[in-house]
């Protein structure tokens, strides 16, 4: 879907574990390095620390006509923030 360095930003997004909403983001930035690694930085409205340690986690953000969706490979919870390493986008 994307090639080369890319940065996407948005406001509303969620991280889900199954049917659970593990985190609700109020703003987020997803970036793809030239090497192809995706990372996520987000500020959080709420989060469930237990659910954020489970797998599989998905980061989903609305876009025109659907959703972006990345698998969350690892997530680090800060004070109202979250940093994560993402896999390749699924949609």
């Amino acid at each position: 879907m994307f090639e080369g360095p890319v940065t996407l930003r948005g406001q509303e997004a969620t991280i889900v574990w199954g049917y659970h909403t593990a985190a609700v983001c109020t703003s987020w930035t997803a970036a793809r390095t030239p090497q192809g690694q995706w990372t996520l930085q987000a500020t959080l409205k709420r989060a469930d620390p237990y659910q954020l340690r489970q797998q599989p986690l998905k980061f989903t953000a609305p876009r025109v006509g659907g959703f972006f969706c990345w698998p969350v490979l690892s997530a680090t919870l800060g004070a109202g923030t979250l940093a994560a390493v993402l896999g390749p986008p699924e949609s």
Binding site: W17, G18, Y19, H20, Y50
Partner: protein, 157 residues
């Protein structure tokens, strides 16, 4: 076996080929929310609980409109129910007030069928938990070890 609840979905059949998608099990937090929704606020108390000056709950008022509905809201994730144009009335990931509104706009018999299906599912869960306790599963009481103090001949008082 883990005591934590995995987010597993289960399909419950309804009449006329319809179905519900529900949580296989509720987490402790979700079960507490089911209980809490049964009580309505009076006198400004949050969650239906009137709190006195000491900070202790003084009264709780059962909300008859939430009986049955609270459990359905706890379990229900999605369904196959459609509108007059045959489009599924989507409730997945919708806020509780949206799901509540959809349920309240059903014909009463259909609402009752959904409540009965979810209550039967919950009853099966309870029966499974009881069976697990009887068979000495994670929730049951295991054999009690002898006190090491007794083994060593010491006193503990």
């Amino acid at each position: 076996m883990s005591r934590f609840v995995k987010p597993t979905e289960v399909r419950l059949p309804l009449s006329e080929g319809d179905y519900l998608i529900v949580k296989e099990k509720l987490t402790a937090g979700e079960q507490l929310e089911v209980f809490a929704r049964l009580y309505k606020a009076e006198g400004g108390g949050a969650g239906g609980v009137t709190v006195g000056k000491t900070g202790v709950a003084e009264s709780m008022t059962l909300d008859p409109l939430q009986v049955g509905l609270s459990m359905v809201l706890g379990y229900l994730l999605d369904w196959s129910l459609t509108d007059d144009d045959g489009r599924v009335v989507s409730i997945r990931n919708q806020p509780l007030d949206v799901v509540t509104a959809a349920l309240r706009n059903l014909e009463f018999d259909d609402y009752q069928e959904i409540v009965a299906a979810v209550q039967a599912h919950d009853a099966r869960n309870q029966a499974a938990r009881q069976e697990k306790k009887r068979s000495g599963g994670p929730s049951g009481s295991g054999p009690i070890s002898r006190s090491l103090a007794v083994v060593g001949g010491a006193t503990n008082g």
